[in-house]
């Protein structure tokens, strides 16, 4: 690629904050015709925000726009909607399929862009009564498919296709747009963004996709390829760009980068969170939780085969990239999602798929889905804190005859205690949970779990979506709870540094399996490698 030509896309000094929270900082890069750019970074590194800016998504404008300039062909552009981006020849294939299962491949490729045949009725009732020209539709669909260099029956219904072909249908949809009658100045597809297209594909399908990408690139279409599979990045891309904490860390030719370098760029922290050393040793040698061949069916977080054990008094971390299955583990053990396998707690077998059982045994769970699972949003703090303990341990009840009534005074007392202990900011203990900020809601979730006085506590993504001050408070509260009450904690988090700051050991989950378990003091590059390397599937 000659560097002298005017780049297809140039981003100059792009920055973006959401309500004061800086997510992108001074992003500068260029992309040339036919170039394949691999974009990597942990979840939350700023990749998707950057793509949203490129596409003129509404939420960017609604939250105050962005700083810096986007240049196409050297000219400054400001996309106000995805349609604007489309007109400029930018297409995107999202991680989730936007395909209609009962439509054929052709119908999906040309969804809402169907070629029409004139019908008399349209004179009377408007254009929507033109009939759809099926032959032309078939032709255009096949033309787009052929550009990918694959075989695909355009007449087949999407629901009958293997998942890989759904991905191709999505890409073909972007390619078919050049056949549309467009207004003047609109351009055919020149830049295609693929957001983790291979995540759901089998190895063979992924290979086909990568070769299709090359065909497109040879036809002059530039591609931004977002993936966590680093070997794909190094083999298929011209350039690799690594993002972390809203910054571009590295942009190098793919030839000169190897997988382990990229991994360390991804997870390394410029300002690493201080590791808090233990003040009291509460760990023992006894295995309190043993998990063997756990399989959990949780959409988007499938656990395929996980085995590990946790020592009593330990803080055990579970990390990995989003969608790899780490979140499925506590949800499966606690019976919230369909699970199979063998779980033993303190030497006793835990019945799976029965949420009551693990609670009765003395386990508790702070869910990653605060609003959906963790809280009764429409009820008071008192109810949120006391409810689980009331149901499981019959706390906060007073008996009148055979009836067990809520003991309002006890409930209020315990809620006040936790409000003070965790510094929950609220107007009163009667305030509704939905009126609190995210950080305070998280503390209420912790209080709910603490009130159960469990022997083992699962916390899932405890700091997601809360501000830095609250983060530190939550983490120190967990550590303190562990040390003061000798409670074993299993903490699941996407933020490696957070795990490294308070955990004793960390397991990294990749593709629904344990990649490895390392002491938390290990080098962050090692963890990064585990997150992105491919686990050998034949190992089991």
């Amino acid at each position: 690629m000659e560097k002298t030509e005017i780049p297809l896309l140039e981003m100059k000094g792009i920055s973006k904050d959401f309500f004061g929270n800086q997510v992108l900082n001074d992003i500068n890069f260029t992309l040339h015709r036919g170039e394949i750019l691999g974009l990597v970074g942990e979840n939350g590194a700023g990749k998707s925000t950057l793509m949203k800016i490129l596409f003129g998504m509404e939420e960017i404008l609604q939250t105050g726009g962005y700083g810096g300039d986007v240049l196409i062909d050297g000219k400054k552009v400001l996309f106000k909607s995805p349609e604007d981006a489309l007109r400029a020849g930018i297409g995107m294939v999202h991680q989730e399929f936007s395909l209609l299962p009962e439509f054929t491949v052709a119908e999906n490729i040309l969804l809402n862009r169907e070629p029409e045949k004139y019908s008399v009725m349209s004179e009377l009732f408007g254009k929507r009564l033109n009939t759809v020209d099926r032959a032309e539709m078939q032709r255009r669909a096949l033309k787009a498919i052929s550009k990918l260099g694959i075989e695909l029956d355009a007449g087949k219904r999407i629901q009958d296709l293997p998942v890989g072909y759904k991905q191709f249908t999505e890409i073909a949809r972007e390619l078919s747009k050049e056949d549309d009658k467009r207004d003047e100045g609109a351009s055919s597809l020149r830049l295609l963004v693929l957001d983790e297209p291979t995540a759901v594909l089998s190895e063979k399908e992924a290979e086909t996709l990568l070769s299709a990408m090359h065909m497109l690139s040879e036809a002059g279409i530039a591609i931004i390829f977002i993936s966590h599979r680093l070997h794909e990045i190094t083999s298929a891309c011209d350039t690799v760009m690594v993002m972390r904490d809203g910054l571009i860390i590295k942009k190098v030719p793919a030839k000169s980068a190897n997988v382990s370098d990229i991994a360390s760029w991804m997870v390394g922290r410029s300002v690493s969170t201080e590791r808090v050393e233990r003040k009291v040793e509460v760990r023992s040698d006894k295995d309190i939780l043993k998990v063997e061949h756990l399989k959990v069916i949780m959409p988007g977080e499938m656990v395929r085969d996980v085995s590990f054990s946790v020592k009593e008094g330990e803080i055990f971390g579970i990390g990995g990239l989003a969608g790899q299955g780490k979140i499925g583990i506590p949800n499966g053990i606690m019976g919230l999602y369909n699970a199979m396998g063998n779980v033993e707690f303190d030497g006793k077998k835990v019945t799976l798929n029965a949420p009551r059982m693990p609670l009765d045994e003395g386990m508790a769970f702070v869910s990653e889905d605060r609003r959906g699972v963790g809280l009764l949003l429409d009820e008071s703090l008192e109810w949120n804190v006391a409810f689980a303990a009331m149901q499981i341990k019959e706390d906060f009840l007073k008996k009148i005859g055979p009836m067990k009534f809520r003991d309002q005074r006890a409930i209020e007392k315990v809620t006040k205690e936790y409000v003070d202990l965790l510094e929950i900011k609220c107007t009163s203990t009667r305030q509704k949970a939905k009126e609190l900020s995210g950080g305070n809601q998280q503390k209420v979730c912790l209080a709910k779990a603490f009130a159960l006085s469990p022997r083992l506590l699962f916390v899932s993504e405890p700091t997601r979506g809360i501000d830095i001050g609250a983060k530190a408070l939550v983490l120190s509260a967990l550590r303190r709870y562990n040390e003061e009450h000798k409670v074993t904690i299993v903490m699941v988090s996407s933020e490696l540094e957070e795990l490294r700051s308070i955990c004793d050991r960390i397991a990294i989950i990749q593709d629904g399996r344990v990649a490895d378990i390392l002491p938390a003091t290990s080098d962050s590059t090692e963890f990064g490698m585990l997150m992105v390397s491919k686990v050998n599937k034949e190992a089991n």
């Binding site: 609670l359 009820e379 149901q391």
Partner: protein, 359 residues
């Protein structure tokens, strides 16, 4: 200076009123004002204010328990109980059995409730299990479960071997009559108990007390451990599951409770009405009860005893007052139309209301 404070005061008053309107609900406010207007203009239509009030009280007592039957199911998140006819059928079975065994007076009333209880429990249980299988589509299915069961019972009323001559058709000697008089049984048993009369004003304390008793039981139940769990299931079923509560069990229990209250509700209704009405009469009985509780400020997933009291009073007030006032004023009885529009309009309002951020 004085002007400033005045405008400040009026601004404050405005926000205060707005807040009040918001918390009270606009439709409820309109209906309440409309009812107030009806009471005020009643004398001009040649109607005694106190007679109107007495009628409203009486109909409140008649219907309040049926409206109360909405509460448990709304609490557990099963939605509006359009399947109320199922409870009514249990009540009808209890009532006819009580007459069949020739109970009289207070005993017949109590035995009607006793006999209806096993039916309510069994039917309610089956209905609850069914609703658990169709979560999300409860309301439509509940409606049709109600309809089918009414139609089914129409056949049963013809076939079941009742033989008390006061109940079966005279000429054939089999098949129950469409309306059965409760004279000598429990006609007016609550209505005339502890009834207080001052001039034109008649207050049926007996019926009020009976309703208060049931309302107290429901209120008390909601304060127990199980009641709390039921409310949590309605508020956020996933939270409840994660806290070890069986969502299906709680929902089934709530359906059984609602069905039983429906059964008692119809028996209370009958004692005031003086007759048992069989065959197609339970068909549309769910709709007035549903709209009454909504009028009282309940939503599809939140309801309280206060909602029941306010709603029943407003709804029955409109129902009693419009025909007489309208007739007196414009010699036209549009009350039926007003009833249809108000009650169904209220349900539509509730169904289309944006749910507050639950879950």
């Amino acid at each position: 200076m004085g002007l400033d404070t005045a405008s400040l005061d009026s601004a404050m008053l405005k926000t205060k009123i707005q807040g009040l309107v918001k918390s009270f609900g606009l439709p409820r406010l309109i209906i309440a004002l409309f009812l107030l207007l009806l009471f005020i203009i009643a004398p001009f239509a040649g109607l005694n204010f106190f007679t109107g009030l007495s009628d409203t009280f009486n109909r409140f007592g008649m219907n309040a328990v049926l409206v109360l039957a909405m509460v448990p199911m709304i609490h557990s998140g099963c939605g509006l109980n359009f399947g109320l006819p199922l409870g009514i059928i249990s009540g009808l079975l209890g009532a006819t059995l009580s007459l069949e065994f020739e109970f009289t007076g207070m005993a017949s009333f109590l035995m009607a409730i006793v006999f209806s209880t096993p039916f309510a429990v069994i039917l309610g249980y089956g209905y609850g299990v069914l609703l658990n299988k169709v979560k999300g589509g409860e309301m439509m299915i509940a409606t049709y479960v109600g309809f089918s069961s009414v139609a089914f019972m129409c056949m049963m009323w013809l076939l079941l071997p009742y033989d008390n001559p006061s109940m079966v058709w005279g000429f054939s000697g089999e098949g129950l009559r469409t309306t059965i008089s409760l004279e000598g049984a429990y006609s007016g048993i609550l209505m005339n108990f502890l009834s207080l009369e001052i001039g034109h004003l008649k207050i049926p304390f007996g019926m009020f007390l009976f309703f208060a008793l049931l309302a107290f039981l429901v209120w008390g139940f909601l304060k127990t451990k199980t009641g709390t769990a039921m409310t949590a299931v309605g508020s956020n079923p996933v939270f409840a599951t994660a806290s070890g509560v069986s969502v299906d069990k709680m929902r089934t229990l709530s359906v059984v409770m609602s069905t039983w209250l429906g059964a008692v509700g119809i028996i209370v209704y009958q004692q005031s009405f003086g007759f048992i009405q069989l065959y197609m009469s339970p068909f549309y009985m769910a709709l007035p009860a549903v709209s009454a509780i909504l009028l009282g400020g309940a939503s599809v997933n939140k309801a309280s005893i206060t909602n029941v009291v306010i709603g029943t009073f407003l709804f029955q007030g409109i129902l009693t007052m419009t025909p007489s006032v309208m007739n007196g004023l414009i010699q036209t009885d549009v009350s039926e139309v007003i009833r249809i529009i108000v009650s169904n309009g209220m349900i539509l309002y509730a169904l289309t209301r944006k749910q507050e951020a639950t879950r």
